[in-house]
Amino acid sequence: MKKASYRILRLKERRKQKKLEQHNESQLSKAVQEETHIFDTEAKNVEFIKNILKECSDLVVRTFVIDVPKDLKSSVVYLDEMVQKDINHNFIIRPLMKYSDKRESVNDLYDEVYNHLVQAGEVKEIEDMKSALDAILSGDTVVFLDNFRKALVVGTKGWTTRSVCEPHAESVVRGPREGMSETVVCSLSMIRHRLRDPFLRVKYFTKGKRTKTTVALLYIEGVCDEEVVKEAEKRIQDIQIDGILESGYVEEFIVDQMWTPFPLIQNTERPDSVVAHLLEGQFAILVDGSPYALIAPAVFSQFYYSSEDYYERYLIATFLRFIRLLSLFIALLLPSLYIAFVSFHPEMVPSKLLIAMAAGRATVPSSPILEALSMEISVEILREASIRLPSPIGPTIGIVGGLVIGQAAVQAGLISPAFVIVVGLTTISSYANPSYSAAISVRLLRFPMMMFAAAFGLYGIMIAMMLIILHLVQLRSFGVPYMSPFAPLNLKALKDTLIRVPWPWMKKRPEIYKVNDVVRQGGGEK
């Protein structure tokens, strides 16, 4: 009974919603439906566009007369800030205005305009008002002519962009210093520049009902698994949202599993890294407005890989990987180990160290877990504050933060000196991780870990580890097990995991991502 009434209520609500939507539609975009054909006079067209884009002061409409026997009115429509004005002035408006031919019949004029007058590379013919509007809004220029029920769209996109600069979140000592920028075209140029493969596929999707953001799917045909590409396409197409401002939006829509602290899709702002992943058989997604490319299928190894590993000599790269893996464990475990040793297993600590630690803790008022939690949380606050703070007053944070977690706190007897070392080491270790989003998930997992340690000591830590590993084993990213190549074990792919063998030994692609074209070296240059 209750259920039925609830259902009716919901039905009513839905009807209301639908009405509202219809109302909106009629107000805003009734005219923007695809059926509206371009009108036969220029004036009507301009009127139509002005009607929709009313109160848009940046809309530029230049109307002029082309000098043919029967004076033909024409107009050029564009948004002021979105176009390259040089092209508009010199190669569209000027030739059209200067043109003068008394013999020409009106009917041939359209071809003349298309073939000779509009001097630009990317020219398209359109027949409906919707595409004209889309073109104007994305920075192209539309040319309307009297007497013709079609219009020309000239590619003149040219908004202001940031210049190419070094990627801040993933800097390397040796390796390219270019980072991708906010426009897909620009990022794509950097990728194409490095990967001149005719089999590189770039598929554009327009996503976001209002933002109409370009989302590009990149993969190398024949290397990337087709099933995975199909699945990715499907998931991108299923996105229904009004706006996409960053690749993070897309990431959360296409990810396999939401309930996980681990990043199942990798991100990078390095074009060389994108190319490397494409070559290994993964696909990349670029989103207009974000310098971060998404890379999937991702595996756990992103927690300790850096693109530099492949540029530096193999021995050093292997050493660095071990260091990063060690730091991963320190970041995850050190505070909880401290808690476990202090509260449960003092017998394991050598006696001299134990005496020193006990002396340090003598004045500390709180239990180890409270001490640890308060310190770790204040470090997190410090980290967050230092990111948000404008750079001129940035150093302040360093000084104040140093006071909070440093000498002053120890002297006041609030924290034991040993734990200050633990906190410092943990924080430094968590930033030895090359990927920010991976590092942050480890920082997050530290807290439940500390709880387990406070409850059961080393036993609790191991139980928590077992559960984390179980979760890792269960995860999949686009069908690829997250822990591969360790589980399921793939001996060949182990060449590039904990260690990195020299390039000449990696004759084949790692078979983690079900690649099609396995051979990487030899077989002749193509």
Partner: protein, 387 residues
């Protein structure tokens, strides 16, 4: 929102290496803690060869079980037992006998889990967490294993695979202790045992290897069922070596007379190490914590088998797996807490060991019947087409 995941598309996902790790980590569980004492009580100094001989004996049983599994590739015991025992005329008889067989195996699995958990909990409380109530320790372990057992077999297999190397980690510490403190005079003299005691000694050795009946369930999921030989025999070989090192090592450190008095000989080896350059002293907490991994995987495999048995027997859908796993947890907890003290736990454990050994022999009977009745399963199309 969970996206529909791309899967391997087949239930036959367990690789040969995963099969190897499953068998190793199931057998190599909590019993190892007291293994040298249990064997030494009966066989004394002769344990250094008894353990190998009884291992080979168990290896033969495993080979027979493997033969049974390979007769019905891609099927678990729940599926092939009715086929072996039943006939077209008396359908109910086969079902009835199957229920009995399965019940015995399930009873063994459940009691095995609860005893393992209890023994580990006792060891933990005695050695490390002195002030923690054993109920809490057992409950935490059982809940986390139940969470893990609620996942599919493919994931359990991957889990075993990933944690395989940790099985060998305590070995490093132990070998170090043997080198430092072991004395070869403790190992001799050999052949002091009466021949009348030999069968008893062999059995006490064989109990230590129990747990391999899980392969009756897991083998239904193998990717290459015809390579099961390799995996299983390598596994038992590995375990014989591991056990031998442990037995000989502890014997050389403690000597026969002291060994039978030590509660957990393998754990004690952690205490005898003396190293001045080491950051940590008294490693038994660390050893016991790493031991948790072995107990966890071993119990998990038994647990997952029990859950899978229920699911297959009642033909339930996979999504109930998690709830069945949780439903077992209270039963296991009560069973684990049933013995009142450590002495009783020992008695129960011994009974479970004997019971387990008999249970593991039950499938051999099935094999004999299958051969006599010429019953044989067919290779599922998915497996044969994938190769």
């Amino acid at each position: 929102m969970n996206q529909q995941q791309l899967t391997d598309g087949t239930r036959y996902s367990i690789t040969v290496y995963q099969a190897f790790t499953i068998v190793v980590s199931t057998i190599y569980g909590v019993g190892v803690l007291s293994l040298p004492r249990d064997v030494a009580e009966v066989s004394g100094n002769d344990m250094s060869w008894i353990i190998i001989v009884s291992g080979i004996f168990v290896g033969i049983i495993i080979a027979l079980l493997t033969a049974l599994c390979m007769r019905f590739p891609g099927q678990t015991i729940v599926q092939f037992a009715p086929e072996i025992l039943g006939s077209r005329r008396s359908h109910w008889l086969g079902r009835f006998l199957t229920i009995i067989v399965l019940l015995i195996i399930a009873l063994y699995l459940v009691s095995g889990i609860s005893m393992s958990v209890r023994i580990f909990g006792e060891a933990m409380v005695n050695a490390v967490l002195v002030n923690t109530p054993i109920e809490a320790v057992i409950l935490v372990l059982l809940i986390s294993v139940a969470i893990a057992a609620g996942s599919e077999f493919g994931i359990v297999a991957k889990y075993n695979e990933l944690l395989m190397l940790l099985n060998f980690f305590p070995l490093v510490i132990e070998i170090f202790a043997f080198i430092q403190r072991g004395e070869s005079t403790n190992l001799l003299p050999l052949l002091q045992m009466n021949t009348s005691q030999l069968p008893k000694a062999m059995l006490s050795g064989a109990f230590a290897y129990s747990g391999y009946s899980v392969l009756l369930m897991f083998s239904g999921f193998y990717k290459q069922p015809m390579k099961a030989w390799k995996a299983h025999l390598f596994a038992i070989g590995t375990i014989i070596v591991l056990y031998w090192i442990k037995c000989v090592g502890t014997l050389s450190i403690f000597g026969k007379d002291e060994l039978v008095r030590v509660m957990y000989p393998v754990l004690e080896t952690g205490k005898v190490i003396r190293l001045h350059a080491m950051l940590f002293e008294r490693l038994e907490s660390a050893i016991l914590s790493i031991w948790l991994v072995l107990v966890f995987t071993s119990v998990l495999n038994l647990y997952a088998c029990t859950v899978q048995m229920v699911i297959e027997f009642f033909r339930l859908k996979g999504r109930y797996r998690r709830w069945i796993a949780f439903a077992f947890a209270p039963v296991l907890y009560v069973m684990a807490m049933a013995p009142e003290n450590m002495g009783e736990v020992g008695k129960y454990a011994e009974r479970v060991g004997i019971f387990g050994f008999l249970t593991d022999c039950l499938p051999i009977l099935l094999l004999v019947i299958a051969i006599l009745r010429r019953k044989k399963g067919e290779m599922p199309r998915e497996i044969s087409s994938s190769r």
